[in-house]
């Protein structure tokens, strides 16, 4: 409808049919699936790295008291920094390519995950820990069997937030470093003045984001909240 009003010329605001055509062409010649696959691969690697480091960092901060005092304010500060701001440094450190983007993805979600771990552990009802103590659970055993499960709902929501940060970081990284992936196809559309392609890729990005958020994280989060008795509906 907005297109029909003709306020903008068609090379600035594409028609829905043009976008659909472009999308189906892109899917048929496999350029969109290939780009999507590359992007997802990067996201997967970057997110996995941030999961491992974020969890370990969070647990370390919880275990070592002076680390908590030293790092917690710093983490909060670093977390407010949009991760794309790391890109110039990342390009200098890793060069213009895969590693720089993966670094930006990882750094975007590490801090939100580790902060979720720290606050999740802090919010565990002390009663669980006391009960575990009287049953003789000590050290690592207590950690794996009580502390982590008790903090899991908070950790999952941190992971979800981390995922959306990672996703944004990925797109920003791909837009700014001309290599490959969905973001690169998007920026190419701009360079070629092909607004059909730009909007088409935007739609693909939205769909992928919604799908992972709803189907993957939404379900996992809901299942955990239900099992932990934090929600009543199923």
């Amino acid at each position: 409808m907005v297109y029909r009003t003709g306020i903008w010329p068609s090379f600035l605001f594409p028609s829905p049919s043009g976008v659909l055509e472009n999308l189906s062409a892109g899917i048929q010649d496999l350029s969109i699936p290939i780009a999507a696959q590359i992007s997802i691969q990067r996201l997967f690697i970057g997110y996995s790295i941030s999961l491992v480091i974020g969890l370990l960092l969070g647990i370390m901060i919880d275990r070592i008291k002076y680390l908590d005092q030293a790092l917690s304010p710093l983490l909060l500060g670093v977390q407010t920094l949009p991760s794309i701001c790391w890109l110039p440094l990342a390009i200098l450190w890793f060069g213009l390519g895969e590693e720089a983007i993966i670094f930006v993805i990882a750094i975007g979600s590490i801090f939100s995950i580790s902060m979720a771990v720290v606050s999740g552990i802090k919010q565990i009802p002390p009663l669980y820990i006391r009960a575990a103590k009287t049953m003789g659970a000590k050290g690592l055993r207590r950690y794996t069997s009580v502390v982590i499960p008790a903090a899991l709902p908070a950790i999952i929501s941190g992971m979800k937030q981390g995922w959306s940060f990672a996703w944004r970081a990925l797109m920003a990284g791909e837009l700014l470093t001309p290599t490959s992936g969905l973001g690169y196809v998007l920026i190419m559309g701009r360079d070629l003045h092909d607004m059909n392609q730009v909007v088409g890729i935007m739609i693909v990005i939205v769909i992928m984001g919604v799908v992972t958020d709803r189907l993957l994280f939404g379900r996992v989060e809901h299942a955990i909240l239900y099992r932990w008795g934090l929600t009543r509906s199923h």
Partner: protein, 278 residues
């Protein structure tokens, strides 16, 4: 045998140091059923936590069978006011948790868990999650979990305080029966004198500010005991008499200083004037 010798406990608060326990001496024989009663703030829960090893005494010695108590351990199972079940585990896994930590084999663990769930009449709910149970059922699961550890001592910190009176009286009967069957040493904390007399062999009356042991009563009534029992009521009356002074002291400290039980216990009702003023 549990020996508590000259235990003191101080808490640091904003308004200085609070004397939670002062000069507490108590020895508990194996197989004894001891109930600590007293007004709120008399340190009875603190004493229980020190025995459990969850808190440390400021000074004094606590030892069990000759060994000093330094840390919490599975030889002294604790039942809290809340069930303290792990919400991410099914009922049966909750019961098995302690045995798993202890290293009991898988088959034996399951058998014992079912045995104790049967004892508290909850086998039907073995694969439910704790949040699907009522408060009373959760507390029974906690009891099954505590029993399954085969500890010779059971510490109970007002475990039935949050339950409705029907569930409570069922659990009272079950606890008496379980104590008779297993001969565990039980140390039970409550502020309810009726509950204390119903369950205990020895009732220890504690006082507040500073918390110390005031008097000990031996309850030598036949079991199973019953709330309506006239002898039980008499003993309750004796203990309440001992406690009245204490309760008043606490009330005075917490309420206005001119508060008195005597003045406020007389209830005048205008419709029972017995004909005066005719």
């Amino acid at each position: 045998m549990l020996e508590i010798v000259n235990v003191h406990k101080n808490f640091k608060t904003k308004n200085g140091v609070t004397n939670a326990l002062q000069e507490v001496n108590l020895s508990v024989k194996n197989g004894d059923f001891v109930v600590l009663v007293g007004p709120s703030g008399c340190g009875k829960s603190t004493l229980l936590n020190i025995i459990a090893g969850l808190e440390k005494a400021t000074s004094g010695q606590v030892s069990k069978s000759g060994r000093p108590i330094l840390d919490a351990g599975p030889d002294r199972m604790v039942m809290f006011q809340e069930a303290a079940l792990f919400p991410w585990l099914k009922v049966i896994d909750n019961v098995e948790y302690g045995m798993k930590i202890k290293g009991t084999g898988k088959r034996e663990r399951r058998e014992k868990a079912i045995h104790y769930l049967k004892m508290v009449h909850l086998t039907r709910f073995a694969s439910a999650y704790p949040h699907e149970l009522s408060v009373g059922m959760r507390q029974r699961v906690a009891l099954a979990r505590a029993l399954s550890m085969d500890s010779d001592m059971l510490l109970m910190d007002e475990p039935f305080a949050a339950l409705d009176s029907q569930t409570k009286s069922i659990l009272h009967a079950e606890l008496q029966q379980i104590w008779g069957a297993t001969k565990k040493t039980i140390i039970f904390v409550t502020h309810n004198v009726e509950e204390a007399v119903l369950l205990a062999e020895r009732v220890i009356v504690m006082t507040a500010n500073p918390g110390r042991i005031k008097k000990e009563f031996r309850v030598q009534l036949a079991r199973p005991r019953n709330m309506e029992d006239i002898d039980l009521t008499r003993t309750v009356g004796q203990i309440l008499g001992e406690l009245k002074e204490e309760v008043e002291k606490v009330a005075k400290a917490e309420l206005d200083s001119d508060w008195s039980l005597e003045n406020s216990s007389f209830i005048s009702r205008p419709d029972t004037h017995l004909g005066n003023g005719i």
